[in-house]
């Protein structure tokens, strides 16, 4: 297990990059805790795979250094970094049994056979493959093969880090629940440093202690799921996390008040900003209360998605999404109020701290 330091890392796939836009990965400078579970989350092209490949050693960054527990590994090949990797698609040896597949990385490193057996038995138990331990991998479903890949990623106790690249893509939804909770449990038990790349917010939020949200080659926020939900530091985080994402409404600010068209909204604190910034108010659909008092809205559509409803409304000419409980309905003369605890203010897309 190791702490991972990303020291002023930048990467460009083109030769002689000059502008920021030339970099697939712009300045990344962070330290990740030993034993932490990190998810790299973002849309395609955000740089998350580039960053993962720099950590694994598949890619050498154009600039900067990467350190494991203070040791510079920037120039080391993946096999010299003592890491385990699990990929999007299963990588298993078809002619080997399930147990031998798991034992492979251990035998490769010359571990004593008794120890190999003990370790394999433990992993088989964890990933619930005891019943088919003696079967050849050939002919197993993609689900099961991917479970073997996950097991192989977890079998070595002494790795610096385990890297996962969208490991649940080929897994059916029901099995995802099981595998995700097992991974989380394993992390709790063994405390590996884990880095998990995904574009699926549910996977990222439920797996990780810290979610690293990437956008346009930059890390825009590192935070706990709760922080990302309650205090998105960038409008992109508000939009990308949550389903539907945060409502972002253009407002004019006046101390502790925000003006949205004809409506005045009291803020939890005053914003002091230099002139010329584009200012917006962010409020998640979960923090909008639909009722008969407050600001008038017109309801365009109600989507019933089972355990709750999503109300698509208009407020002062802007779209507003509202989450409504399963057993509630839209009042005849709909109005909304914003829960002050759920209000965030943004200037040029970055969150502004509100004063007392």
């Amino acid at each position: 297990m190791a702490r991972i330091d990303l020291d002023h890392i930048r990467h460009a796939y083109m030769a002689n990059p000059s502008r920021d836009e030339d970099y697939a990965l712009r300045e990344v400078h962070h330290s990740w805790d030993d034993g932490g579970a990190y998810a790299l989350l973002g849309p395609s092209g955000c740089g998350k795979t580039t960053l993962l490949n720099i950590i694994s050693g598949l890619l050498t960054p154009s600039e900067g250094k990467i350190l494991f527990d203070g040791n510079d590994v920037t120039g080391l090949q993946p096999e010299e970094r003592n890491i385990a990797q699990v990929f999007q698609f299963p990588v298993v040896y078809d002619t080997m049994t399930v147990a031998d597949n798991l034992a492979f990385p251990l035998r490769n490193r010359g571990m004593a056979e008794a120890e190999v057996q003990a370790r394999v038995a433990e992993v088989l138990e964890m990933i619930d493959l005891v019943d088919i331990a003696g079967r050849k991998a050939r002919g197993l479903t993609a689900d099961l093969k991917q479970k073997i890949s996950l097991g192989r990623g977890l079998v070595r106790a002494d790795v610096n880090a385990i890297l996962f690249d969208e490991p649940l893509t080929v897994i059916d939804p029901h099995m995802k629940w099981q595998l995700r909770s097992q991974l989380k449990l394993l992390h709790r038990r063994f405390g590996h440093t884990m880095v998990y790349v995904t574009h699926d917010q549910t996977e990222a939020l439920t797996f990780a202690d810290k979610v690293v949200v990437m956008y346009g080659g930059e890390i825009v926020q590192i935070g706990t799921p709760q922080e990302l939900f309650e205090r998105p530091s960038h409008t992109f985080v508000g939009y990308f996390i949550g389903s539907p994402g945060m409502n972002v409404l253009p407002v004019a600010l006046d101390g502790a008040r925000a003006q949205l068209g004809q409506q005045t909204i009291a803020l939890p604190g005053a914003a002091s900003l230099p002139d010329g910034k584009r200012t917006e108010l962010g409020i998640r659909p979960e923090f909008v209360q639909l009722g008969t008092t407050g600001m008038p809205v017109s309801v365009r559509m109600v989507e019933d998605i089972g355990r709750h409803k999503i109300v698509r409304a208009m407020i002062e000419g802007h779209e507003l999404a509202i989450v409504l409980d399963e057993d509630l309905s839209v009042p005849a003369d709909p109005h909304v109020t914003f829960d002050p605890a759920g209000i965030n203010i943004y200037a040029d897309d970055w969150r502004v701290k509100l004063g007392g």
């Binding site: 709790r188 574009h199 439920t206 989507e303």
Partner: protein, 358 residues
């Protein structure tokens, strides 16, 4: 209208589709929901005319088209694995069905631009597909299906390889785009949440059979049997095998659960209670019954927590608002909201509520 009449598909002695009858109206959105290998793709291939059914007939607007090849039908298909012409630009890829049908230049430009705008491909029109990300390649394939204006549009897990947010947006937009055209729209997915977001009608599939077909939310709320309930549940449906004994569901070690009045006609004997993750709560409320369970692990999404539980040999998931980080191994009382209970008889059929009065 497209009609499947008692269609089966058997190959190499294996039954892939088992006696499926289905009527899809023009302008309708139909979701095929089921796990991998439940028959979604096989069914679509029969609808498209790529495969001939072993038994049964396929009717298009009342006309038997069972043996008619795909080229002779007005069908557009998009697969999970994106397929484009690698040597053509994105623009030409999207335009290709229009060129084949001999559309004029102005029409081609207008339609390609509209589709490109919708799928956010406008900046990439002059690139070739291999210089695009996976998501952009799939959007190109979708754009081509849109401009084709086919009478039957088959989408086989088309968003599975796309970014989650893009999926959310496309899910909202795709039905609108296709419904304008009056086409029959069939969308296969493994994900219950995707079916709910798409709306329309849903057919749940299990082992080559359609277990239920109806308005999506109705199938979700009132599944006719346990298999449908399980297929249409994410997180998985929580189950509790019990025995009905007069006015209560009883089980050793579990507090009696009163049988709802609407289900009093159910005969005494073994049955299974089914309930969804959001019908369990860490807090007691009116009409709840406490159940003891061991916490395995908790997942926090930011606004909600999924608590994975073990009750005897059953795995359950509880979805609760707010942040609850409960230690693994803890034994806790979880409270079941009995108002939304599903009850399945010993054959796995849902016990229907009896209407009082009328």
């Amino acid at each position: 209208m497209l009609e499947l009449d008692k269609v089966s598909k058997i190959s190499n002695g294996e039954t892939h589709i088992n006696d499926v009858s289905l009527r899809l109206e023009s302008g309708s959105l139909n979701v095929l929901l089921g796990p991998t290998l439940s028959g979604k793709t096989s069914l679509m291939r029969i609808m498209a005319g790529l495969d001939r059914p072993t038994h049964g007939r396929v009717l298009s607007d009342g006309k038997d088209v069972t043996g008619l090849a795909v080229q002779k039908r007005n069908v557009a298909m998009v697969y999970q694995q994106f397929i484009n012409y690698p040597a053509m630009t994105v623009y030409e890829n999207i335009a290709s069905p229009l060129r084949i049908s001999g559309a004029d230049k102005a029409t081609i430009e207008r339609e390609v631009d509209r589709a490109a705008e919708l799928l956010r491909l406008a900046p990439y029109l002059q690139r070739t597909p291999l210089n695009l990300s996976g998501g952009q390649q799939q959007r190109t394939a979708l754009a081509r299906a849109i401009v084709k204006k086919a009478g039957l549009v088959l989408l086989d897990e088309p968003l599975a390889n796309l970014d989650y947010k893009l999926r959310e947006e496309l899910r909202a937009e795709l039905p609108k785009i296709f419904s304008e055209s009056g086409a029959i729209f069939v969308y296969a997915t493994t994900e219950p949440s995707e079916a709910l977001l798409l709306g329309g009608d849903t057919a749940t599939l299990s082992e080559g059979r359609i277990t239920q077909f109806g308005p999506t939310v109705d199938v979700f709320r009132d599944p006719v049997n346990l298999v449908t309930a399980q297929t249409f549940s994410d997180p998985p449906m929580n189950l509790l095998p019990m025995e009905k004994k007069q006015g209560n569901f009883v089980k050793q070690g579990v507090k009696d659960i009163p049988v709802p009045a609407s289900l009093s006609h159910l005969a005494d004997g073994p049955c299974t209670l089914g309930f969804r993750s959001h019908n369990l709560s860490p807090i007691a409320g009116p009409g709840t019954t406490p159940l003891s369970a061991e916490v395995m692990v908790t997942e926090i999404t930011g606004s909600e927590s999924y608590v994975h539980l073990i009750h005897e040999d059953q795995r359950w998931v509880m979805l609760t608002k707010g942040i609850h980080d409960i230690d693994a191994g803890e034994i806790m009382d979880v409270h079941l909201d009995t108002a939304h209970l599903l009850v399945f008889d010993r054959d796995g059929r849902t016990v229907r509520a009896q209407q009082s009065g009328a």
